[in-house]
């Protein structure tokens, strides 16, 4: 479903992604782990067609980026730590607006269905700026699944959420995964990632440093695996510098 080969992304003189190779099969839930500044958000922005690759090949659902960006966007749902919602519109109006932009058929029924799914139907006529952070994030997920995308990208969706809101978000994420969607989620929260994902990739210093499937690792070993990977990357870097 997602194929990335030798992806490089530069911002001026700074190289953020240094040849990322990444593949995701249809229906997989991949947790992309990594320290701050590893390039996780940049990588997701390239996949979302918000950022143009400097070099390399990116294909999603068979369509190439950036040449076939519109076809890719039609198949993508994106949730970031920002809700991408308009505070001065109601929950219903926000979804209605995005539904028009995506050309969703039978829009009123679909909007009601999505609001039910994220548990905000009763608050549908309330302005989004009156919502708590957790409610906004649930509505953001509703916005992302409105057009029934095949691939979903989540960029640190739990940022700023309290325990209850995070648990509620996890339930929505599980439902998204159960419906057979391909999911890539960046996260700092290893416990949460271990609970949700079927594969764990570690992005460090702009490359995928390691990848492990859920069947190959116990959830309580994930932290050790993550730390070991970062340590190896750092050791290799120091060796290169000393040479």
């Amino acid at each position: 479903m997602i194929q990335v080969r030798k992806l490089i992304k530069r911002f001026g003189l700074k190289t953020v992604l240094r040849g990322v190779d990444f593949q995701v099969e249809a229906g997989e839930f991949v947790a992309l782990l990594g320290p701050n500044g590893a390039g996780k958000t940049t990588f997701l922005r390239v996949l979302a067609s918000l950022s143009r690759p400097s070099m390399g090949e990116v294909r999603i659902a068979g369509y190439q980026l950036p040449a076939q960006a519109a076809a890719v966007r039609r198949r993508l749902g994106v949730v970031s730590h920002q809700p991408l919602l308009y505070g001065d519109l109601t929950a219903e109006e926000n979804l209605h607006f995005y539904g028009l932009m995506y050309g969703v058929a039978d829009l009123d029924r679909r909007v009601a269905q999505v609001l039910e799914m994220v548990g905000l139907y009763a608050r549908r006529r309330d302005l989004v700026r009156t919502f708590s952070r957790g409610m906004q994030q649930r509505l953001a997920i509703g916005r992302a699944v409105l057009h029934d995308p095949e691939v979903m990208l989540f960029d640190e969706p739990h940022t700023g959420l309290d325990q209850d809101a995070s648990a509620m978000l996890d339930n929505v994420l599980r439902e998204v995964a159960v419906r057979g969607r391909t999911v890539v989620m960046t996260s700092h929260d290893l416990a949460r990632a271990a609970d949700l994902a079927s594969r764990f990739d570690v992005l460090s210093r702009g490359v995928i440093a390691a990848s492990v499937h859920r069947s190959e690792i116990e959830p309580n070993q994930l932290l050790g695996f993550y730390r070991q990977t970062l340590l190896e990357v750092e050791t290799r870097r120091k060796e290169r510098v000393s040479v």
Binding site: S49, L50, R73, L84, L85, Y86, G87, F97, R143
Partner: protein, 243 residues
């Protein structure tokens, strides 16, 4: 053979029509969203209006002119007021998209990005016209000049079109920077000088009752400017908003 060729042609016509419908629907969605959000918050219009009214009030007291001189400076004061109030509106309109990450939400939609540009530009134009409709009668009373002249209205429409066409493009560029509030006027005013001068001259000539033969060159300049800059914005908006 002939029938299948006709089928292909019909299919192509159908696809073209669907694409056009989707394009126009996206433009409408962006305009509707901007107007609905503004009707709720009145943030943008009230700022533009207060600023515009203050400017004409200050000029009224600062320039204690006799009736004849007053008529000659009217068009200049009027366009300075529109330009400054317009900059405020353009800045705010794009900042609202950027602040909650909504610009990313728009860019993720599977539509030609020029539809987003046209939607934003039409919204900005509506706000500009609302301010102008309110400012004109106040100005007429304060300066004792009859501004309800069909020729002047035409100049205001053409001048506002050019101003908004360039302003929307440049504000989407400026909003990506940290110094967006300062950057927009610095970028915008040098580029709008041709339409600004033409608008001031044409307005002045209409108010002075000059012959159309004197006014046409300025009207032509404004029409050409509007067409060229709308086309430039249509072609470049995608590159301006992409990382």
């Amino acid at each position: 053979m002939e029938e299948s060729a006709m089928d292909v042609s019909r299919q192509a016509t159908f696809e073209t029509r669907s694409a056009w419908r989707a394009y126009l629907r996206s433009i409408w969605a962006v305009v509707w969203k901007d107007l609905a959000a503004e009707l709720r918050s009145r943030e943008l219009l009230s700022a533009m209006l207060v600023f515009a009214l203050l400017v004409i009030l200050i000029f009224n007291f600062a320039l204690e002119l006799d009736a004849e001189t007053r008529a000659t400076v009217t068009s200049g004061v009027l366009w300075v007021t529109f330009a400054f109030a317009g900059t405020l509106g353009l800045n705010r309109s794009m900042a609202m998209e950027k602040d909650r990450g909504c610009l990313d939400g728009l860019l993720l939609a599977p539509v030609d990005r020029s539809a987003i540009y046209f939607g934003k530009a039409i919204g900005n134009l509506v706000f500009m016209f609302v301010v102008e409709i309110i400012v004109l009668p106040v100005y007429s009373i304060l300066y004792n000049v009859n501004l309800f002249n069909p020729g002047l209205i035409l100049v205001i429409v053409l001048g506002s079109l050019g101003y908004v066409a360039v302003g929307t493009l440049l504000s989407s560029m400026a909003v990506q920077t940290r110094t967006r509030d300062v950057l927009l006027p610095i970028l915008l005013f040098p580029v709008v000088i041709p339409v600004f001068i033409a608008a001031v001259k044409a307005s002045g000539f209409f108010l002075a009752g000059r012959e159309m033969v004197d006014i046409w060159p300025y009207l032509n300049l404004m029409i050409v400017y509007d067409v060229i800059f709308t086309a430039v914005a249509f072609m470049t908006f995608d590159y301006v908003v992409e990382e």
